[in-house]
Point group: C3
Chain length 116, copies 3
Amino acid sequence: MSDLRRIDPGPRLCEATVYGDRMYLSGMIPEDTAQDTTGQVKQALAEIDSLLAKGGSDKTKILSAVIWLGDIGDFAAMNKVWDAWVVPGQTPARATVQARLNDPAMKIEIMVVAAI
Amino acid sequence: MSDLRRIDPGPRLCEATVYGDRMYLSGMIPEDTAQDTTGQVKQALAEIDSLLAKGGSDKTKILSAVIWLGDIGDFAAMNKVWDAWVVPGQTPARATVQARLNDPAMKIEIMVVAAI
Amino acid sequence: MSDLRRIDPGPRLCEATVYGDRMYLSGMIPEDTAQDTTGQVKQALAEIDSLLAKGGSDKTKILSAVIWLGDIGDFAAMNKVWDAWVVPGQTPARATVQARLNDPAMKIEIMVVAAI
Protein backbone atom coordinates (compact mmCIF):
# COMPACT_ATOMS: atom_id res chain seq x y z
CA MET A 1 0.00 0.00 0.00
CA SER A 2 0.95 3.63 -0.45
CA ASP A 3 1.93 5.65 2.56
CA LEU A 4 -1.04 7.16 4.41
CA ARG A 5 -0.15 10.65 5.55
CA ARG A 6 -2.26 12.81 7.87
CA ILE A 7 -2.34 16.59 7.98
CA ASP A 8 -2.83 18.10 11.45
CA PRO A 9 -3.95 14.90 13.18
CA GLY A 10 -5.86 15.45 16.42
CA PRO A 11 -7.38 13.07 18.96
CA ARG A 12 -10.73 13.01 17.09
CA LEU A 13 -9.92 13.57 13.44
CA CYS A 14 -7.26 14.96 11.16
CA GLU A 15 -7.70 17.88 8.82
CA ALA A 16 -6.90 15.72 5.80
CA THR A 17 -5.58 12.34 4.76
CA VAL A 18 -3.21 11.94 1.82
CA TYR A 19 -3.07 8.53 0.16
CA GLY A 20 -1.59 7.72 -3.21
CA ASP A 21 -2.63 10.33 -5.73
CA ARG A 22 -5.63 11.62 -3.80
CA MET A 23 -6.38 13.55 -0.62
CA TYR A 24 -9.52 13.62 1.53
CA LEU A 25 -10.33 16.71 3.58
CA SER A 26 -12.42 16.91 6.72
CA GLY A 27 -15.52 19.08 6.56
CA MET A 28 -14.15 22.62 6.46
CA ILE A 29 -16.04 25.15 8.53
CA PRO A 30 -15.65 28.87 9.22
CA GLU A 31 -13.66 29.86 12.30
CA ASP A 32 -15.53 33.10 12.85
CA THR A 33 -19.23 32.31 12.86
CA ALA A 34 -20.12 35.91 13.69
CA GLN A 35 -19.59 36.70 10.00
CA ASP A 36 -22.40 36.59 7.44
CA THR A 37 -22.80 33.87 4.83
CA THR A 38 -20.41 35.53 2.40
CA GLY A 39 -17.74 35.81 5.05
CA GLN A 40 -18.24 32.28 6.30
CA VAL A 41 -18.05 30.76 2.83
CA LYS A 42 -14.86 32.72 2.14
CA GLN A 43 -13.35 31.37 5.35
CA ALA A 44 -14.24 27.77 4.56
CA LEU A 45 -12.82 28.06 1.05
CA ALA A 46 -9.61 29.68 2.37
CA GLU A 47 -9.17 26.73 4.73
CA ILE A 48 -9.64 24.36 1.81
CA ASP A 49 -6.98 26.26 -0.16
CA SER A 50 -4.60 26.02 2.76
CA LEU A 51 -5.13 22.31 3.32
CA LEU A 52 -4.89 21.46 -0.36
CA ALA A 53 -1.54 23.26 -0.48
CA LYS A 54 -0.29 21.24 2.49
CA GLY A 55 -1.15 18.05 0.61
CA GLY A 56 0.46 19.15 -2.66
CA SER A 57 -2.82 19.92 -4.40
CA ASP A 58 -4.87 23.04 -5.23
CA LYS A 59 -8.42 24.05 -6.07
CA THR A 60 -8.03 23.16 -9.76
CA LYS A 61 -7.54 19.53 -8.73
CA ILE A 62 -10.67 19.07 -6.60
CA LEU A 63 -12.45 15.92 -7.78
CA SER A 64 -15.60 16.21 -5.72
CA ALA A 65 -17.14 18.58 -3.17
CA VAL A 66 -20.12 18.16 -0.86
CA ILE A 67 -21.51 21.42 0.49
CA TRP A 68 -23.83 21.44 3.48
CA LEU A 69 -25.70 24.67 4.11
CA GLY A 70 -27.38 25.25 7.45
CA ASP A 71 -30.06 27.07 5.47
CA ILE A 72 -30.53 26.19 1.80
CA GLY A 73 -31.81 29.73 1.43
CA ASP A 74 -28.12 30.70 1.42
CA PHE A 75 -27.64 28.85 -1.88
CA ALA A 76 -27.32 32.00 -4.02
CA ALA A 77 -25.07 33.81 -1.54
CA MET A 78 -22.82 30.75 -1.26
CA ASN A 79 -22.64 30.34 -5.03
CA LYS A 80 -21.61 33.94 -5.51
CA VAL A 81 -18.49 33.34 -3.42
CA TRP A 82 -17.93 29.86 -4.87
CA ASP A 83 -18.20 31.04 -8.49
CA ALA A 84 -15.55 33.71 -7.88
CA TRP A 85 -13.27 31.14 -6.21
CA VAL A 86 -13.27 28.31 -8.75
CA VAL A 87 -11.10 28.52 -11.86
CA PRO A 88 -13.05 28.60 -15.14
CA GLY A 89 -12.73 25.31 -17.02
CA GLN A 90 -11.37 23.57 -13.93
CA THR A 91 -14.49 23.24 -11.81
CA PRO A 92 -15.13 20.10 -9.73
CA ALA A 93 -18.07 17.74 -9.35
CA ARG A 94 -20.34 19.07 -6.58
CA ALA A 95 -23.51 18.49 -4.58
CA THR A 96 -25.20 20.95 -2.21
CA VAL A 97 -27.86 20.09 0.36
CA GLN A 98 -29.21 21.56 3.57
CA ALA A 99 -28.13 20.05 6.88
CA ARG A 100 -28.24 21.27 10.43
CA LEU A 101 -24.67 21.70 11.60
CA ASN A 102 -23.30 21.30 15.10
CA ASP A 103 -23.12 25.02 15.81
CA PRO A 104 -26.35 26.79 14.77
CA ALA A 105 -24.29 29.91 14.00
CA MET A 106 -22.31 27.96 11.43
CA LYS A 107 -23.74 28.47 7.97
CA ILE A 108 -21.61 26.14 5.88
CA GLU A 109 -19.46 23.02 5.87
CA ILE A 110 -17.61 21.75 2.78
CA MET A 111 -15.93 18.36 2.32
CA VAL A 112 -13.71 17.70 -0.67
CA VAL A 113 -11.68 14.95 -2.30
CA ALA A 114 -8.82 16.17 -4.48
CA ALA A 115 -6.25 14.81 -6.88
CA ILE A 116 -2.59 15.44 -6.13
CA MET B 1 -0.24 12.45 -11.57
CA SER B 2 -2.85 10.99 -13.88
CA ASP B 3 -4.70 13.27 -16.22
CA LEU B 4 -7.75 14.93 -14.63
CA ARG B 5 -10.57 15.04 -17.15
CA ARG B 6 -13.85 16.91 -16.68
CA ILE B 7 -17.18 16.04 -18.26
CA ASP B 8 -19.35 19.02 -19.20
CA PRO B 9 -17.45 21.64 -17.18
CA GLY B 10 -19.43 24.78 -16.41
CA PRO B 11 -18.57 27.98 -14.55
CA ARG B 12 -19.71 26.51 -11.21
CA LEU B 13 -19.12 22.79 -11.40
CA CYS B 14 -18.65 19.99 -13.89
CA GLU B 15 -20.93 17.00 -14.27
CA ALA B 16 -18.14 14.58 -13.43
CA THR B 17 -14.39 14.35 -12.94
CA VAL B 18 -12.40 11.41 -14.25
CA TYR B 19 -9.07 10.69 -12.58
CA GLY B 20 -7.03 7.54 -12.86
CA ASP B 21 -9.29 4.52 -12.52
CA ARG B 22 -12.18 6.32 -10.86
CA MET B 23 -14.80 8.95 -11.65
CA TYR B 24 -16.72 11.30 -9.36
CA LEU B 25 -20.16 12.53 -10.40
CA SER B 26 -21.89 15.70 -9.28
CA GLY B 27 -25.17 15.25 -7.43
CA MET B 28 -27.59 14.12 -10.14
CA ILE B 29 -31.06 15.61 -9.99
CA PRO B 30 -34.22 15.26 -12.07
CA GLU B 31 -34.74 17.76 -14.86
CA ASP B 32 -38.53 17.62 -14.73
CA THR B 33 -39.56 18.19 -11.13
CA ALA B 34 -43.24 18.12 -12.04
CA GLN B 35 -42.98 14.32 -12.11
CA ASP B 36 -43.70 12.16 -9.07
CA THR B 37 -41.04 10.39 -7.01
CA THR B 38 -40.89 7.40 -9.34
CA GLY B 39 -40.41 9.62 -12.36
CA GLN B 40 -37.82 11.80 -10.65
CA VAL B 41 -35.77 8.84 -9.47
CA LYS B 42 -35.83 7.37 -12.97
CA GLN B 43 -34.59 10.66 -14.38
CA ALA B 44 -31.73 10.94 -11.89
CA LEU B 45 -30.65 7.35 -12.57
CA ALA B 46 -30.81 7.90 -16.33
CA GLU B 47 -28.51 10.90 -15.93
CA ILE B 48 -26.12 8.76 -13.93
CA ASP B 49 -26.14 6.12 -16.69
CA SER B 50 -25.39 8.77 -19.27
CA LEU B 51 -22.52 10.33 -17.32
CA LEU B 52 -20.98 6.99 -16.43
CA ALA B 53 -20.97 6.09 -20.12
CA LYS B 54 -19.20 9.36 -20.96
CA GLY B 55 -16.50 8.45 -18.45
CA GLY B 56 -16.08 4.88 -19.67
CA SER B 57 -17.94 3.31 -16.76
CA ASP B 58 -21.41 1.90 -16.13
CA LYS B 59 -23.78 1.16 -13.26
CA THR B 60 -22.13 -2.19 -12.47
CA LYS B 61 -18.95 -0.29 -11.54
CA ILE B 62 -20.41 2.16 -9.03
CA LEU B 63 -18.30 2.02 -5.89
CA SER B 64 -20.42 4.22 -3.65
CA ALA B 65 -23.67 6.18 -3.82
CA VAL B 66 -25.13 8.79 -1.48
CA ILE B 67 -28.84 9.36 -1.93
CA TRP B 68 -30.50 12.44 -0.51
CA LEU B 69 -34.28 12.38 -0.38
CA GLY B 70 -36.21 15.59 0.17
CA ASP B 71 -38.65 13.47 2.16
CA ILE B 72 -37.41 10.22 3.69
CA GLY B 73 -41.00 9.04 3.38
CA ASP B 74 -40.12 8.45 -0.28
CA PHE B 75 -37.67 5.71 0.75
CA ALA B 76 -39.83 2.81 -0.46
CA ALA B 77 -40.83 4.50 -3.71
CA MET B 78 -37.18 5.36 -4.44
CA ASN B 79 -36.03 1.83 -3.66
CA LYS B 80 -38.57 0.31 -6.02
CA VAL B 81 -37.01 2.19 -8.92
CA TRP B 82 -33.47 1.68 -7.64
CA ASP B 83 -33.91 -2.07 -7.18
CA ALA B 84 -35.09 -2.45 -10.76
CA TRP B 85 -32.14 -0.39 -12.01
CA VAL B 86 -29.22 -2.08 -10.28
CA VAL B 87 -27.79 -5.32 -11.65
CA PRO B 88 -28.15 -8.31 -9.30
CA GLY B 89 -24.81 -9.28 -7.80
CA GLN B 90 -23.25 -5.98 -8.86
CA THR B 91 -24.82 -3.58 -6.40
CA PRO B 92 -22.79 -0.69 -4.92
CA ALA B 93 -22.19 0.56 -1.38
CA ARG B 94 -24.92 3.08 -0.54
CA ALA B 95 -26.28 5.45 2.09
CA THR B 96 -29.63 7.24 2.05
CA VAL B 97 -30.61 10.19 4.23
CA GLN B 98 -33.12 13.00 4.15
CA ALA B 99 -31.95 16.47 3.18
CA ARG B 100 -33.73 19.59 2.05
CA LEU B 101 -32.66 20.27 -1.52
CA ASN B 102 -32.36 23.61 -3.28
CA ASP B 103 -35.63 23.29 -5.16
CA PRO B 104 -38.46 22.13 -2.87
CA ALA B 105 -40.06 20.37 -5.86
CA MET B 106 -36.96 18.24 -6.26
CA LYS B 107 -37.39 14.91 -4.52
CA ILE B 108 -33.99 13.30 -4.96
CA GLU B 109 -30.29 13.93 -5.52
CA ILE B 110 -27.74 11.13 -5.97
CA MET B 111 -23.94 11.42 -5.91
CA VAL B 112 -21.77 8.50 -6.98
CA VAL B 113 -18.15 7.45 -7.25
CA ALA B 114 -17.46 4.78 -9.86
CA ALA B 115 -14.64 2.59 -11.05
CA ILE B 116 -13.60 2.80 -14.69
CA MET C 1 -8.87 -1.89 -14.38
CA SER C 2 -8.42 -3.48 -10.98
CA ASP C 3 -10.81 -6.15 -9.87
CA LEU C 4 -13.97 -4.76 -8.22
CA ARG C 5 -14.89 -6.93 -5.27
CA ARG C 6 -18.13 -6.67 -3.27
CA ILE C 7 -18.61 -7.64 0.36
CA ASP C 8 -22.02 -9.11 1.19
CA PRO C 9 -23.78 -8.05 -2.02
CA GLY C 10 -27.56 -7.94 -1.79
CA PRO C 11 -30.28 -7.07 -4.30
CA ARG C 12 -30.18 -3.37 -3.34
CA LEU C 13 -26.66 -2.65 -2.20
CA CYS C 14 -23.54 -4.32 -0.92
CA GLU C 15 -21.95 -3.72 2.45
CA ALA C 16 -18.72 -2.54 0.85
CA THR C 17 -16.87 -2.34 -2.46
CA VAL C 18 -13.15 -3.03 -2.68
CA TYR C 19 -11.30 -1.54 -5.65
CA GLY C 20 -7.58 -1.17 -6.02
CA ASP C 21 -6.07 0.15 -2.81
CA ARG C 22 -9.30 1.55 -1.39
CA MET C 23 -12.62 0.33 -0.04
CA TYR C 24 -15.98 2.11 0.18
CA LEU C 25 -18.46 1.11 2.89
CA SER C 26 -22.21 1.52 2.84
CA GLY C 27 -23.69 3.71 5.54
CA MET C 28 -23.32 1.64 8.70
CA ILE C 29 -26.26 1.71 11.09
CA PRO C 30 -27.02 0.10 14.44
CA GLU C 31 -28.90 -3.20 14.39
CA ASP C 32 -30.56 -2.66 17.76
CA THR C 33 -32.21 0.73 17.70
CA ALA C 34 -33.70 0.22 21.16
CA GLN C 35 -30.27 1.13 22.55
CA ASP C 36 -29.32 4.68 23.51
CA THR C 37 -26.96 6.87 21.51
CA THR C 38 -23.86 5.41 23.13
CA GLY C 39 -24.96 1.88 22.36
CA GLN C 40 -25.98 2.70 18.81
CA VAL C 41 -22.69 4.44 18.02
CA LYS C 42 -20.78 1.46 19.42
CA GLN C 43 -22.78 -0.87 17.20
CA ALA C 44 -22.17 1.17 14.06
CA LEU C 45 -18.44 1.37 14.79
CA ALA C 46 -18.27 -2.37 15.46
CA GLU C 47 -19.86 -3.00 12.06
CA ILE C 48 -17.29 -0.72 10.47
CA ASP C 49 -14.49 -2.68 12.18
CA SER C 50 -15.94 -5.93 10.90
CA LEU C 51 -16.33 -4.74 7.32
CA LEU C 52 -12.90 -3.15 7.22
CA ALA C 53 -11.40 -6.47 8.32
CA LYS C 54 -13.26 -8.28 5.54
CA GLY C 55 -11.69 -5.89 3.04
CA GLY C 56 -8.18 -6.17 4.45
CA SER C 57 -8.23 -2.79 6.17
CA ASP C 58 -8.76 -1.49 9.72
CA LYS C 59 -9.76 1.69 11.53
CA THR C 60 -6.25 3.18 11.35
CA LYS C 61 -6.58 3.27 7.57
CA ILE C 62 -9.86 5.17 7.29
CA LEU C 63 -9.37 8.03 4.85
CA SER C 64 -12.67 9.80 5.32
CA ALA C 65 -15.85 9.42 7.37
CA VAL C 66 -19.23 11.12 7.06
CA ILE C 67 -21.37 10.88 10.18
CA TRP C 68 -25.08 11.58 10.04
CA LEU C 69 -26.80 12.09 13.37
CA GLY C 70 -30.57 11.95 13.58
CA ASP C 71 -30.26 14.66 16.23
CA ILE C 72 -27.17 16.87 16.22
CA GLY C 73 -27.75 17.21 19.95
CA ASP C 74 -26.12 13.77 20.17
CA PHE C 75 -22.82 15.25 18.97
CA ALA C 76 -21.07 15.06 22.35
CA ALA C 77 -22.39 11.57 23.16
CA MET C 78 -21.30 10.32 19.74
CA ASN C 79 -17.86 11.87 20.08
CA LYS C 80 -17.27 10.25 23.45
CA VAL C 81 -17.62 6.82 21.85
CA TRP C 82 -15.78 7.86 18.69
CA ASP C 83 -12.82 9.34 20.59
CA ALA C 84 -12.38 6.10 22.53
CA TRP C 85 -12.55 4.08 19.30
CA VAL C 86 -10.05 5.91 17.10
CA VAL C 87 -6.33 5.32 17.51
CA PRO C 88 -4.36 8.40 18.64
CA GLY C 89 -2.24 9.78 15.79
CA GLN C 90 -4.17 7.74 13.23
CA THR C 91 -7.45 9.62 13.09
CA PRO C 92 -9.29 10.08 9.76
CA ALA C 93 -10.77 13.09 7.98
CA ARG C 94 -14.37 13.51 9.13
CA ALA C 95 -17.57 15.55 8.77
CA THR C 96 -20.66 15.35 10.97
CA VAL C 97 -24.08 16.76 10.14
CA GLN C 98 -27.66 16.18 11.16
CA ALA C 99 -29.94 14.22 8.83
CA ARG C 100 -33.23 12.47 9.29
CA LEU C 101 -32.64 8.76 8.78
CA ASN C 102 -35.05 6.18 7.43
CA ASP C 103 -35.94 4.76 10.83
CA PRO C 104 -36.68 7.53 13.36
CA ALA C 105 -35.33 5.26 16.12
CA MET C 106 -31.97 5.15 14.39
CA LYS C 107 -29.64 7.74 15.86
CA ILE C 108 -26.60 7.42 13.63
CA GLU C 109 -25.31 6.37 10.24
CA ILE C 110 -21.61 6.44 9.27
CA MET C 111 -20.11 6.07 5.80
CA VAL C 112 -16.37 5.61 5.35
CA VAL C 113 -13.73 5.26 2.67
CA ALA C 114 -10.60 3.40 3.73
CA ALA C 115 -7.16 2.58 2.43
CA ILE C 116 -6.17 -1.07 2.16
